[in-house]
Amino acid sequence: MRRRGPALLAALLLLGLSAAASLFWGARPVDPATVVSVLAGLPAALLDGGWSQLSAGLGIDAAVVQSRIPRTLTAVLAGAGLAVAGAGMQGVSRNPLGDPGLLGLTAGASCAVVLGIGWLGVVATWQLTALALAGSGVAAALVFGSSLLGGGSPTPAGLVLSGAAVNAGFTALTTSVVLSLPAVLDRFRFWSIGSVARAESTDLTAVAPLVLLGVLLVLGGSSGLNAMALGDELAHGLGVDLGLQRVLVFVGVVLLAGSATALAGPIVFVGLLVPHAVRRLLGGDYRWIVLFSAVLGPVLLLLADVLGRVLTPPQEIHVGVTTVVLGVPVLLVLLRRGRSVTL
């Protein structure tokens, strides 16, 4: 039998360790005692006067540690969001290459951000966050709408195809804006590489409920995904309401991909790698795939972020780059270990 209980404990332990590494370790060496004292003072300070009160009257080291807190939380939320969105997409499209990017959600978010920077002159982080969410939402509506045009409930192939079309459209629009407005290119470059360092605590509190809701929706639909993995006909014969289950999971995926992209930019690969790795190690039960993705997605992003901080101090490498550097070998090893890649 598969030992899922102990594996879940190990994964949670790994999450704790990665979060600790993200708090204790960085481009600037900080005495662990300072980290502990800042963390210990956190609840009292938050109760006292909120986040802004916290930074008052602290040394540089303490301020550095304090800046690592939202960064760690961003990595946790974005990692969970991307990995669970990937698991949901793989399940609902019955495509092991499923990824939020496949639905054009990331492209939609990028496009909205570019238009915001270029034409609306958006500066604030929260505005970019809101734009990214709106862009994902528009992309999702387009994908749903066009796959519903044929009548009946959307099929996996229909959704992936319309996702590809929407993706291409938004990418073309983004490219043309970026090419025609060099000033936009400069800012968009930084946004598009993906980073967990830019989200502010206000963004986090706004986006966290969306991520939670998205994870719950996909988790709720994961039992149906198990039946849908056997093909539509058999799933129908098992009494699964295919349309309802698909909508449930898709809404969850849109919320997750939109929120994660809004917080950290278009980080690729987490949504592909994490569910795949879980499936290889623990089998094809989507209830467990989703659950483990929610824990291991943050682990990957946290470790990638820590790696980016300590590799070339005092410079930092963006997490979008280190995720791929870290993730590609892991995926290749897993694929080698497996008997065959069935597509």
Binding site: P96, G237, L238, G283
Partner: protein, 308 residues
């Protein structure tokens, strides 16, 4: 309430598994199955036969509620199929489609267990009968020894048995099977069909109800209590194998010129195909069995040519 009263109060007690009246089924506006009137009784094996594309699979899709009737009515156990709740229907009627998808990363036992889906409560929480149903299904399909093997590693025939086990684990009173013998060798085909014949009603006395599409007519004759012959979306004949499998009907339904013999054991009909019944160019019929009956001088030229 006493049992007698209960029995009287239940009008569906002896309703047939399916009752079709003027039923038309199809895709979009195109009807594939047209104006079918048919009762399929409980407790027996009904086999649908007919040429490719005559609507057998479409009829099964209708019975499993995947297609809405274009016209006419369809009742299951005396209730219109649209009135059933999806899960409740899945506990009563199971479907094994022609080509289900093999998901990644599952063992045989895990895949068979997915047949328990309609019996489970929210979020697939295990139901108390799961283990027994899964074990029984794997035993009937001789998969117990393969329980821990990844499904991806199995042969086509073994996979087919896994799908049948999944359908058995669903423990529905009525099983719809679309070409369940595909990929199976002859011994396993016979095994499977005999097993289905002997299958019991999961929660009551009597036999389970099986509705299957089969292409191998002799196996169909061997296993079926009733044959339903279809051609061009309509039902051409219904009855016992001996009533349905006649040379005239085979010519009409399959365009097949055939003789029908009696099996010396059991007396069921055996179809002996001779060739196409249609007009026009077709390959010459197989050579006469001269070798078995070497009448002297029958074919002197060939005999001479074959001599050293």
């Amino acid at each position: 309430m006493s049992p007698e009263l209960h029995a009287v109060a239940d009008p569906a007690a002896d309703a047939p598994a399916f009752r079709m009246r003027g039923l038309s089924l199809g895709y979009g506006d195109r009807a594939v199955v047209r104006e079918v009137d048919l009762d399929i009784p409980h407790g027996g094996t009904t086999v649908l036969i007919g040429a490719n594309g005559c609507g057998k699979t479409t009829l099964l899709k209708g019975l499993s509620r995947q297609l809405k009737p274009l016209a006419g009515t369809l009742e299951a156990d005396g209730r219109g199929v649209r009135e059933w709740h999806a899960r409740q229907y899945a506990r009563s009627v199971s479907l094994l489609p022609q080509s289900p998808v093999v998901p990644e990363g599952l063992t045989v036992a895990e895949l068979v267990e997915r047949g328990r889906h309609p019996h489970r409560r929210w979020w697939g929480a295990p139901s108390p009968d799961d283990d027994a149903a899964v074990a029984r299904a794997m035993e009937l399909t001789e998969l117990t020894a393969l329980a821990g093997r990844p499904v991806e590693e199995l042969s086509g025939g073994q996979r087919q048995r896994v799908w049948i086990a999944l359908s058995l684990a669903q423990r529905a009173r009525t099983m719809l099977l679309d070409e369940p013998t595909s990929y199976l060798d002859l011994a396993h085909q016979v095994d499977l069909l005999d097993m289905l014949r002997g299958l019991e009603h999961p929660d009551g006395p009597g036999r389970a109800t099986v509705v299957a599409v089969l292409h191998e007519l002799n196996l169909a004759a061997r296993v079926a209590d009733r044959l339903v012959a279809m051609a061009a979306g309509r039902i051409v004949a219904v009855g016992s194998p001996a009533e349905v499998l006649t040379p005239e009907l085979l010519a009409e339904v399959f365009g097949l010129r055939a003789d029908v013999a009696r099996d010396p054991v059991g007396g069921r009909p055996v179809v002996l195909p001779r060739g196409r019944a249609r007009e026009g160019p077709h390959p010459a019929p197989p050579a006469d069995p001269v070798a078995l009956d070497p009448a002297p001088g029958a074919r002197p030229a060939e005999t001479v040519r074959n001599l050293p």
